[in-house]
Structure formats: structure tokens, C-alpha cells
């Protein structure tokens, strides 16, 4: 439960370098903290504030707006069942009720073994494949109660390898080689006309 590891701090600095102003990196850095620890800890928020020149209160102020950020430990697998309209029409309520029974927790709860947290979420953009759910933001589509039971068994038995532990989103990170970067233009660098725009004035194209 901690500040960024040296490796993650290096990633954090790289992320910050891609924005004109460091505060813009707050959300990506909170994701990084969550990837490291499974949730966003106090120490992580302090570290993010140091790296971005903000205060821990600003970090928390931004973070608490967004429901993907957890400020307390959650299950290793967060199950988000969509109950919005398209899923509701095709049985999401039953699925949610079944999930509560199967896991022995209410919506919002975490199982005693710390493996699962169950959430009732808004539209996850898989409406034609209703009812849909995500486990750590990986889709499962047209889910029946049998599918759900199988999913839980698979996770318990270590057979759901496409699903990383909670906190990890993309398994690929953007990385820009230093010699390829065009260079960030900060907002205060006013009036600089991008060089290629002079082509507009040229009588002939090159």
C-alpha cells in the first residue's frame, strides 16, 4: 500500500511528459496507482500530487468524481453487471439477483475471501449482446445464469486467464520514442504558427 515503485514512477513521469500541463495526468496516474495496488491509496495520492505539482486534496477531489476509482480495497475481480435499459429488457435483473445469491453478497459488497466485488452498473456499450457484464472491464456477453456460474467457477479455479487482476486496464501502454516525438506545445507558447500551415500561403504546392 504505497507510493509508486521506481518502475511505476518512471512510467508516471513518461505519462506526465505527454501533456502540456502535468495536472492533466491525474486520471491516468490514479489508474496506474490502482493497477499497482488494486485501489488508490492515501500514499499514492500524495505521490501523485508530488509528481504533478498539485495537492493531495486536489488529487482526491478529482478522483472521487469517477466511479472506477476505489479508495478502499475491493475484490481481486470486480464484476460489473449492466442493468441499463437494453440489458434490463433481456433479463439483467434476474442475472443480478442470481449473482447476489451465487456470491452471497449484495450489490456493492465484496466476498469474504476478497475475491469478488459485485456492482450494478450503467450501460457498458454492449447493448445488442444483452445481458452483458464486465469482470475487471473484460466483457462477457449474452450471459445466462449458467454462464455466470461457470464464470465464477473458472475464476475460482484460475481458468479465466484473459482477465487481469483489478486495476489493470490496458495490457499495452502507449510509449513514444524520444526521437519520434513532435514535442508538446504548452498553451502559453502563444502565436507560434505550425510550420506546415505556411503551405497555405505558398503559390504552389510542394
Amino acid at each position: 500500500m504505497s507510493r509508486f515503485t521506481p518502475d511505476n514512477e518512471a512510467i508516471a513521469r513518461e505519462i506526465i511528459s505527454r501533456y502540456p500541463l502535468p495536472k492533466s495526468a491525474l486520471i491516468p496516474l490514479m489508474h496506474l496507482a490502482q493497477e499497482q495496488d488494486g485501489w488508490v491509496t492515501e500514499d499514492a495520492m500524495r505521490h501523485i500530487a508530488e509528481l504533478t505539482g498539485t495537492t493531495p486534496a486536489e488529487v482526491r477531489g478529482t478522483g472521487t468524481f469517477y466511479e472506477m476509482f476505489k479508495f478502499h480495497p475491493v475484490g481481486k475481480y470486480v464484476i460489473n453487471i449492466c442493468s441499463n435499459i437494453a440489458c434490463q429488457l433481456l433479463g439483467a435483473e434476474n442475472l443480478l439477483e442470481h449473482a447476489e445469491k451465487k456470491l452471497g453478497v449484495k450489490v456493492g459488497g465484496t466476498t469474504a475471501d476478497g475475491l469478488f466485488t459485485l456492482e450494478d452498473v450503467e450501460c457498458i456499450a454492449a447493448c445488442t449482446e444483452a445481458p452483458a457484464l464486465q469482470v475487471n472491464y473484460r466483457y462477457r456477453l449474452r450471459v445466462t445464469v449458467e454462464d455466470f456460474d461457470q464464470l465464477i467457477d473458472d475464476i475460482r479455479n484460475g481458468n479465466a486467464r484473459d482477465i487481469p487482476e483489478h486495476g489493470t486496464l490496458s495490457l499495452v501502454r502507449q510509449s513514444i520514442p524520444a526521437d519520434r516525438m513532435a514535442g508538446i506545445v504548452p498553451p502559453e507558447q502563444a502565436g507560434e504558427v505550425p510550420v506546415w500551415m505556411s503551405r497555405n500561403d505558398a503559390g504552389e504546392q510542394n
Binding site: L21, L89, Q134, S170, M181, W196, M197
Partner: protein, 470 residues
Amino acid sequence: MPTHAYVPHAPGYVDNDGPKLITKRFPLEDSYTLERYEATGGYSGLRSALDRKPSEVHSEVRDATLLGRGGAGFPAGIKWGFLPPGKYPYYLVVNGDESEPGTYKDRLLMERDPHQVIEGCLITCYALGLAQCFLYVRGEMALAQERLSQALNDAYAAGYIGRNILGTDFSVDITLSWGAGAYIVGEETALIESLEGNRGRPRLKPPFFPAAIGLYGQPTIVNNIETMSNLPWIMNNGAEQFKAYGSETSPGTRLFAVSGHVKRPGVYEVEHGVTTFRDLFYGDNFCQGIREGHELKMFVPGGGSAPWFFPEQLDLPLEARPVGAAGSMLPSGAIVVMDETTDAVKAALRLVRFYARESCGKCTPCREGTTWEERILQRIVDGHGRPSDIELLLDVADNISPGPYPVAAHPDAGLDAIPFPPKQTTICPLGPSSVAPITSTIRRFRDEYEAKITKSDLIPVSAAPVEVES
């Protein structure tokens, strides 16, 4: 006989024999790789753009009348023209925060053809002299982030992005940024707030029109993922070719996601403006009808925020103007079809609950109003409604969106349509959107409300628990 098939590696997308301007690679399993993209004409739109003056690229897009595919449907080429001359740097923000109930098309475009999105961004930056592009992707879309990250890394390595692109004087960076779960961030000024590292709350327009005062206070173009995805095609084929598809006022194609009680729900690429709802729901090339043994009761024509339509509106074309005149809107390409088994009040409650949960809390009428709408609807659904609740609901709604609210015609009752858009007492349209399911269902199915409420008359008042959502 039309050919069509589900594509196993693109769940939801239905490959039919209609024109394909932006989904032509979806059926290919490796459509998201740079190799496949280059082998299928990828980045030729960028090359074509770089052979022209930036102003000529801008003109081509303006001539194509490419309507924004995010929500407002404003022509992209005209929007681009709003940048105040000389006030550099300008930024590009691409909105991939797709979260409107019923909507998904941007997710597929990002997952299945990320290079097409990137190429569109590069064309835009070149045309307008933009200093940097920010691709803002919804947090929950892990696979889209993964595919875009890989595509960006590959495109940087291949010289399509970054310093001196393809050996020219054009240089620009694309930064992938991602959200963390907030519907309101799909609103362009809220998205800018979020990109600046703040809580995602909308800004007041005026003065904060992004083209004038956007990201970091600088002029900013905010465009949708699908809008960007159309640009490579337009560069390759020209505005005239683009206008050969769709209708005169809405050229090209659009992606529509049709979900709910149809035989074949799916995401379809549809010719804009010439296809009707009936074609889409019943056509062999599309959804093939309402599920067996059932009939259409109502449908949401344009995402959770749209007033509902009924069988009488089936013959309207999928085009903003006629749909607006008929009392609803079409912005996000999301259609949810409901058959006669659907409880109208319960369905309305679910959408209202969405707005109550997602209200950012900045404007009082929305923050308080959506919460009360949800509570009142919840108690009606739970069988504890009061006779005055229907009027109370409409009264609360009127505080968020005063005056007549857009609604479809109800010919049997002799009621005309009230055209879009609604009025609002709030900064952004989120609050007013919560009113759509309420007024749509009360006008049409007041009897369903009354049946639920009169049942509660059987319960002694003292025994009726007050239901409050925790």
C-alpha cells in the same frame, strides 16, 4: 438474397451487403493491425491530404457535409471554421467516452479499426494546424485502449505520427488519455475539464465554446470517434463520392446499434437519411423483425436521452431533421426496441435512475430534480404511488426543462408532436434528458401509471413503507 453474418471476433457487428465506408475491415480478424491496415489502403488518405494544402483538406471536408457523429450532428467542416485565426496553439480532442444508454459504435471503431481513427485525427491536425491531439477513451473500454495503444505505438514507429510525418514538415503528437467512469464526461466541455485533471463538470456556453476557449483556455476542436473514422475515406474518394451515399442533407453512412426485442440486434452501417426505422427493424438486411410472437410497443430512437417513438413513427427516415420535427432526436445512433411485454413505467424508471446516478451535481435543478424523479417513479413501481404523483413528476420535470417538452404525436388521442429540442434550466442537457422517458410514457401510457397507483390505494396509508433508494 442478402448476405449477412455475425462476425465472431467483432461481437455485435452485423456484416450485411450495404455500403461500407467505415466498417469495411470489421470482418477481417486482424483488422486492428498496422499490417492489415496498410494492406487495405490504410494511411493513403493521410498521404493524399499531405499532397494538398491544409486549406484544401479543410474545404474537402466542408464540401462533404460530414455531420458530427457524436451527438449534436453539427457539420464538422463548419465547426472547424470556428477556430479564431492566429490564436495558436490549437488542440484536437477526440471524444471516445461513449456511454449513452443503448449506444455503441465508437467502441467497435476503436477496437476493430484503431488506425482508421488515428488517420482521421492526423488529417484533422494537418488541415487545421493543430498542435496536439488527445484521444479520450472511456475508462471501462479496456480492449479499445489496448488496441489504440498498440496502434499508436506502431504508427509512431512507422513514421505516421510524431516528428516530420512521412518525411514532410507536418509534425504532431497523439496522446491517448482515458476516463474513469463518468457519463457526463461525454459532454465536450466536461471532457475538457476531465482532460485538464478536474472533476468532469460541464462549462457554461457561452463563453466556453471549445473552438474559442477550450483545453487550457486555447481554441480546441472536439470531434467524435466516428467523425474521425470517416475522414480517411473522404480524403481517398472525395466529397462528391461521399455525397453519393445517404441523403442530400445527411450524406454518408452512420453506425446504428439496434438492441432490445428484435430478432437480430446488432450494429449496422446504414445509409444516412434514406433508411427508415421500419427498414431497420423489419428489413431482412437488418434486424428482421420483432422477436417471434410479439409486436412493437415503443422504441428509443436516439439513445437514452431521446423522447420515445411508437409504431406511428416507424416510417420516418433516420435523419436528424424529420426525427427532430417528430419530437425526438437521433444523435448517438442508439435504438432500443421494446415489445408489448415491456412495463413502460419500469423502463422509464431505469433510464431516469441513470440520469440521477450520473448527474454531476453542478446545477441544482438537475441534481435535485433527477433524484426526486427517480424516487417518485420508484415508489410508483413498488406499488406505493400516490394519486398526485403523475402531476408531481411532471412538475419536477418542468423545473429542469420548463414548458412543453418534445414528444411524439399521439394520433389516437389527437395530440400533435412537440418538436425537439427542449428548454433547459441547466448548463448541459443531462438533466433535461431525464425528462424524456417520463413525458413520453405519461402521454402514451398514463393508464399504466394509474393502474400501478390505484393498486396502492388498497394498502392502508399507515402500512405503506416509504421507499428510498439508498
